[in-house]
């Protein structure tokens, strides 16, 4: 199973996680793990998701999420997990 990492960075506000999670649920993307911290008022979130059952193609839902980031005044990035595994695991 190829997993995808979603990161959200930006100014903290109400409902960021809710908006992202709602989008994922509507698109049949399953959340496997969420970690989140606030560093000096800035919201840092990482989600590990399984998008294999998504009806939309990867590049479409990835771009829609990144656009949602603009609305939330956050930077959203959607990346396959391999780049992180390769870099940080031998």
């Amino acid at each position: 199973m190829k997993k995808t990492i979603i990161t959200v960075v930006g100014k903290d506000s109400v409902g960021i996680i809710a908006r992202v999670c709602t989008y994922l649920a509507e698109n049949s993307i399953n959340i496997l793990d969420i970690s989140q911290t606030i560093v000096s008022g800035y919201f840092n979130m990482m989600m590990i998701v399984d998008g294999n059952k998504a009806e939309k193609e990867f590049h479409i839902w990835a771009e829609e999420l990144e656009k949602m980031g603009e609305v939330l005044s956050c930077t959203v990035k959607v990346q396959h997990e391999d780049i992180f595994n390769k870099m940080h695991r031998i």
Binding site: T7, N44, M46, Q79, I83, F84, H88
Partner: protein, 454 residues
């Protein structure tokens, strides 16, 4: 499972420290395009490149999208054209038709450079090699994306001084024909000693005759990432310094390896090598010179620079080798002047001279790279510069290269503008004393004694 700290570390490298994959270079053999009929050769070359490389751009963009890592360049290298065209080309003009075909094919598949307008002449030149070399100035002036290289020396064969002398003139001619663009033609011509067959970096990339039909080579980058990592160990001893470079090089190279494997799988073309490189760009923070400064040198070129570069080069290789299954190409730290803001500043302030750069090439990955010199430099002096650099490569069994740009109409104190990744460069003075009687002797310099290893 991967944790949040690791994810943000990677993304910080990409977003703030200019981590990228510098190039996916698709090597394509054109040996099967040889023919006695020049028109057919051109047709076969165009068809082969546009068939094999048709998905290169698309695949590169897909990988960028999925992994969130920029892949700055998608390029092609081909079999040295002096070999491919040997049967059909009887004059420099004939070779120029092939240069134009390569340019057209590069545009058709959307790559920004195509390398391999090359000749390998360390021991001697065939008629075809000589015609190709004579055609280089026009080929570079009349095409946009074609890159050329000539290998004039090797540890095994010695240095072909006839070719070295000839290239002094060729470089000046290339400069003259592109004088409207600050002699940009010379930025697309590299003279090599011990040129590797699998180098993915332009302008010196070509697809060696020892390679298979097609192969994917990847060049990594990341001076900014190394610099940021070294900022954490300011004042620590050399052991800690080396460990930090090594660990960072490992991480950078792993990304290159991932991209190479994905590209290879999606293009259905075998993976060749990763070039373990620190390739600077004119962007602030993406500089080898700035790494020296973090190491403790006031400016690149200060006493200690050669030692700093030697350890940097070695640690990049040590970290990178473990991160990749196959390594090759040039591998190490590049020190191009015009492509590195810190180097440019060092030259402007008088910290870095041509002679110091020459010393640095003994321990860097390539050689005198992207150095602008006065347009009135004598051809024999350029040949002398090349001879010196080739001697360093031959004796030290390493790749060395010369890519100097005599900027016509400009002199010391002026600046040459090349644009884009090629950057800009202050014109550097060349030693004014002559070497004509030396380089005009003709013949070749024999291989050094330690090349007889059999």
């Amino acid at each position: 499972m991967i944790n949040i700290g690791e994810v943000f570390e990677t993304n910080k490298m990409i977003e703030q420290e200019n981590l990228d994959v510098r190039t996916i270079t698709l090597g394509i053999s054109l040996l099967d395009c040889a023919d006695g009929d020049l028109e057919k050769v051109n047709e076969k070359i165009y068809d082969k490149i546009t068939t094999v490389a048709k998905d290169l751009l698309k695949v590169g963009q897909e990988i960028e999208r999925e992994y969130g890592i920029p892949i700055v360049n998608k390029r092609i290298s081909v079999t040295p054209i002096s070999i491919v065209g040997a049967c059909a080309c009887h004059s420099p003009e004939d070779f120029i038709t092939i240069a134009k075909t390569l340019d057209k094919a590069a545009k058709a598949v959307g790559v920004n450079f195509i390398g391999g307008y090359s000749a390998l002449v360390p021991k001697g030149m065939t008629k075809s090699d000589k015609n190709l070399i004579l055609s280089i100035p026009r080929a570079l002036a009349e095409t946009e994306r074609v890159c050329s290289s000539v290998n004039v020396g090797s540890t095994k064969a010695g240095i072909n001084m006839d070719a070295v002398r000839l290239l002094g003139d060729i470089i000046l001619d290339a400069a003259e024909l592109t004088k409207e663009k600050d002699s940009l033609g010379c930025a697309k011509l590299v003279v090599f000693c011990n040129a590797p067959d699998d180098n993915p970096f332009m302008a010196g990339a070509f697809h060696g005759v020892t390679e298979s039909d097609a192969v994917v080579n990847v060049g990594v980058s990341g001076p900014g990432v190394v610099k940021t990592a070294l900022e954490e160990v300011r004042g620590a001893d050399f052991g800690a310094l080396c460990e930090t470079v090594k660990k960072t090089a490992f991480k950078i190279t792993r990304v290159g390896q991932l991209v190479a494997q994905e590209a290879s799988k999606r293009l259905n073309i075998p993976f060749g090598i990763i070039d373990l490189s620190l390739a600077p760009t004119p962007a602030i923070g993406d500089s080898i010179a700035e790494i020296f400064e973090v190491m403790g040198l006031e400016r690149a070129g200060a006493p200690g620079t050669t030692a700093a570069l030697a350890l940097l080069n070695d640690q990049v290789k040590k970290g990178g080798v473990m991160a990749s299954s196959y390594v090759g190409g040039l591998s190490g730290a590049f020190i191009p002047v015009s492509e590195d803001q810190g180097m440019i500043d060092a030259v402007k302030e008088g910290a870095l001279t041509l002679e110091k750069l020459e010393a640095m090439t003994c321990v860097c990955s390539v050689g005198l790279d992207m150095i602008a010199i006065p347009g009135d430099t004598k051809a024999s002096s350029i040949a002398g510069l090349i001879a010196d650099e080739m001697a360093i490569g031959m004796v030290n069994q390493k790749t060395t290269a010369v890519r100097v740009i005599p900027v016509i109409g400009k002199t010391v104190g002026d600046t040459a503008e090349f644009g884009g990744l090629l950057g800009y460069a202050p014109i550097m003075p060349v030693n004014p004393f002559g070497c004509g009687d030396f380089v005009n002797r003709g013949g070749r310099i024999p291989a050094p004694i330690h090349s007889f290893k059999n």
